[in-house]
């Protein structure tokens, strides 16, 4: 028996301690079953001996050499993925910020309607929308011929099967993920603060720079994360709008898992992607310093 005096706990506190954590249980259980266990499984798979095969089975040999090998063989795919995802995130930010700003501050009674428009693409499937982009950007399509007629695109130029098409597809697909968090944080910016900035000798642009932008940083951070992270792992856009020369790391993982059935390589690449993305996100969030913001 412990000799320590029992801590003085009133009924209210005891009740809180007793039941508060219960709210965590469903979510935690879900994460354990569908995230933690598969990730551990994936980790073990990544250390299987590469000499095995799907048909003959794999031997667990703690083959850490899989990691340097995977990096060496797929270095350009990693670079391309992060490059495409980076460009996508940047362009999404440029497009979404004015859009979110306009919806938050200038749309008046059209606000809800415009928000519905932003999420309207989600009403059809991601795959179908990307497929229709391949029709839009096709060699005989309106966009290509229009760009040719105004000589932006050379006579033998094309859009489909180029990096432009893949990145355009990524931007299109991830724009709502950038717009919504930006809108949410811009909408919270008190217009009276902008008035106060004006009262304190800020031109509208300075007020925007010194008040609106810093206050919208939480939206910028979550928007860029919601865009960059899934864009890094995307393979549908490269598959449907590009060629093998535009393939991203997601295409390689998908092929290794589903076509080649080379599970150790697929698992190694998956974990590598996850680690690199997590590392980048940690550095980014630290530097953005949003924890100081209310």
């Amino acid at each position: 028996m412990s000799q320590r005096p029992a801590p003085v706990v009133d009924g209210e506190t005891a009740r809180r301690r007793g039941y508060g954590w219960l709210l965590l249980v469903p979510g935690m259980l879900w994460l354990v079953v569908f995230f933690l266990i598969p990730t551990v499984q994936l980790f073990f798979t990544s250390l299987y001996d590469p000499s095995g095969s799907y048909e003959l089975g794999y031997a667990m040999t703690w083959h850490f050499q899989n990691y340097p090998d995977a990096v060496r063989d797929n270095f350009d795919l990693f670079v391309r993925s992060f490059l495409y995802a980076g460009i996508t995130t940047f362009v999404c930010l440029l497009l979404a910020y004015p859009l979110a700003y306009a919806i938050a501050f200038k749309s008046g009674r059209w606000k809800n309607f415009l928000l519905v428009l932003v999420i309207a693409p989600f009403f059809t499937s991601f795959l179908l929308r990307t497929l229709s982009w391949s029709a839009i950007l096709s060699d005989q399509g309106v966009v290509t011929s229009l760009l040719k007629s105004v000589a932006i695109l050379p006579e033998d130029g094309r859009l489909l099967a180029t990096p432009v098409a893949v990145i355009a597809g990524l931007i299109y697909n991830f724009l709502p993920f950038m717009t919504l968090p930006l809108y949410a944080s811009l909408d919270k910016v008190d217009p009276r603060l902008i008035e106060a900035a004006g009262d304190l000798y800020s031109s509208p642009f300075t007020g925007f720079r010194k008040v609106t932008v810093p206050l919208s940083m939480p939206g910028v951070v979550s928007g860029t994360l919601l865009t960059f992270i899934p864009a890094c792992g995307d393979y549908i856009n490269a598959e449907l709008l590009g060629t093998t020369r535009q393939y991203m790391i997601g295409n390689r993982i998908q092929a290794a898992f589903l076509r080649e059935r080379d599970y150790p390589v697929a698992a190694t690449l998956s974990l590598l992607l996850m680690l690199v993305v997590v590392a980048m996100v940690v550095v980014y969030v630290r530097r953005a310093g949003t924890e100081k913001l209310v």
Binding site: D190, R192, E195, G198, D199, Y201, L293, V294
Partner: protein
């Protein structure tokens, strides 16, 4: 003193002038043909109920609203069309509108930094000293109490040395005790720096405590403008009589308007009012008497020359409120009049049903135009 932006007006001629200013929002006229001069260095209050146009007036001076018609100027400088950031005025906003992402120091330094003046650090330190917030310089606004936030808002505006400081219900969010304290503090600071303060409030007590001059606004126009005591003792309209303090308004008929005092007939009893306080000369008029000016005494007391007496009252309600006792006295014509009696302890209190006469000095009543609503400007408890 460092000159604000756009300086160059002749010293001593920095009165804030609004000339025939009108502001419409759609069909609603918020401010109606308002003309007003706020002398340099004065503590000026715009007082009125919500929706009377006082905040709109303030925002037009700040440049946050554009007048539909009319001109706003400071000294010789017409600022009507000037953007807010080019005006030599600063505002203490109702909700303070402190920048949540900046520390107290940077909040206060904000205006100076935007203007690119030198010695920002030093002046900010001094200003924080003035409002006694030096040790809070590194904190965020959210980490401060309401009173401290209020002082940051004040410092953030004052550091720019505006020609006119605009205060939009600056004490509205504070509790009563803190509000009293800040009233004294604001008045002290204003006296010290001699800047023109324009203070918008719906709290008549706040306005009377601090301001040199009060403009009482109602429905977009100024009902009356003057020193607090003048407005209180000699209101021009029933609205002012009711909005500042409380008044008994009795319907009377003017009998003799010729002399030094105007004699009116008050339901069969004659009452005299000093001519300078009569704002109607003939026909019917509202006789106004403040409740604390009336003394109630047992019926049958003798009549003095300078005293008005109304006889035949019956005490119908007594409420003891500590410093005073408030009576309701039912008069023969059915109206109930308020009488506030100081609890000096020299008289025994009246009780319900006592027969009383009401008396007040001739200097203490006023006569208003009978066309007005006797209930205009009455402040109900649930409005506050």
């Amino acid at each position: 003193m460092t000159a604000g932006p756009g300086s160059g007006a002749v010293a001593g001629d920095r009165d804030l002038k609004l000339s025939r200013v009108t502001k419409r929002f759609g069909d609603f006229v918020a401010v109606d043909d308002l003309t007003l001069t706020v002398p340099e260095g004065s503590f000026f209050a715009l007082l009125g109920p919500s929706g009377c146009g006082k905040t709109t007036t303030l925002r037009m001076v700040a440049g946050l609203e554009e007048p539909t018609a009319g001109r706003v100027s400071i000294g010789d400088q017409d600022i009507t069309g000037l953007r807010p950031y080019k005006r030599p005025v600063n505002t203490v906003f109702q909700s303070y509108a402190l920048f949540p992402h900046l520390a107290v120091f940077e909040n206060v330094a904000f205006g100076l930094r935007r203007r690119g003046v030198r010695g920002v650090e030093e002046r900010t330190e001094q200003m924080l000293e003035l409002v006694e917030l030096r040790e809070y310089a590194g904190r965020r606004p959210a980490q401060l109490s309401g009173g401290q936030q209020q002082r940051v808002a004040l410092a953030r505006a004052l550091i720019n040395e505006p020609r006119v400081l605009l205060l939009d219900e600056p004490l509205g969010a504070l509790d009563l005790k803190l509000r009293r304290q800040m009233q004294i503090e604001l008045k002290r600071i204003q006296t010290e720096i001699e800047t023109t303060f324009v203070h918008v409030t719906h709290d008549q007590e706040e306005a009377m405590t601090m301001a040199d001059t009060i403009a009482v606004m109602n429905r977009g126009v100024i009902e009356q403008l003057g020193a607090p005591a003048e407005l209180y003792e000699n209101p021009l309209t029933t609205f002012v009589a009711n909005f500042l303090g409380q008044s008994n308004l009795i319907m009377t008929e003017v009998i003799d308007p010729s002399g030094h005092t105007v004699v009116v007939d008050c339901h069969g009893q004659k009452v005299a009012v000093v001519a300078s306080r009569c704002h109607t000369q003939q026909g019917r008029g509202w006789l106004g008497v403040r409740p604390e000016k009336i003394s109630a005494s047992a019926a049958g007391c003798e009549d003095h020359a300078d005293v008005n007496v109304l006889t035949g009252g019956v005490v119908s309600d007594v409420s003891f409120v500590g410093v005073s006792t408030q009576y309701l006295v039912r008069m023969p014509w059915g109206q109930e009049l308020m009488v506030f009696e100081q609890n000096t302890g020299t008289r025994s209190p009246l009780t319900n049903g006592d027969q009383v006469d009401l008396a007040w000095s001739r200097d203490h009543a006023f006569l208003l135009d009978a066309e007005q609503d006797a209930q205009a400007g009455v402040v109900r408890e649930d409005d506050l």
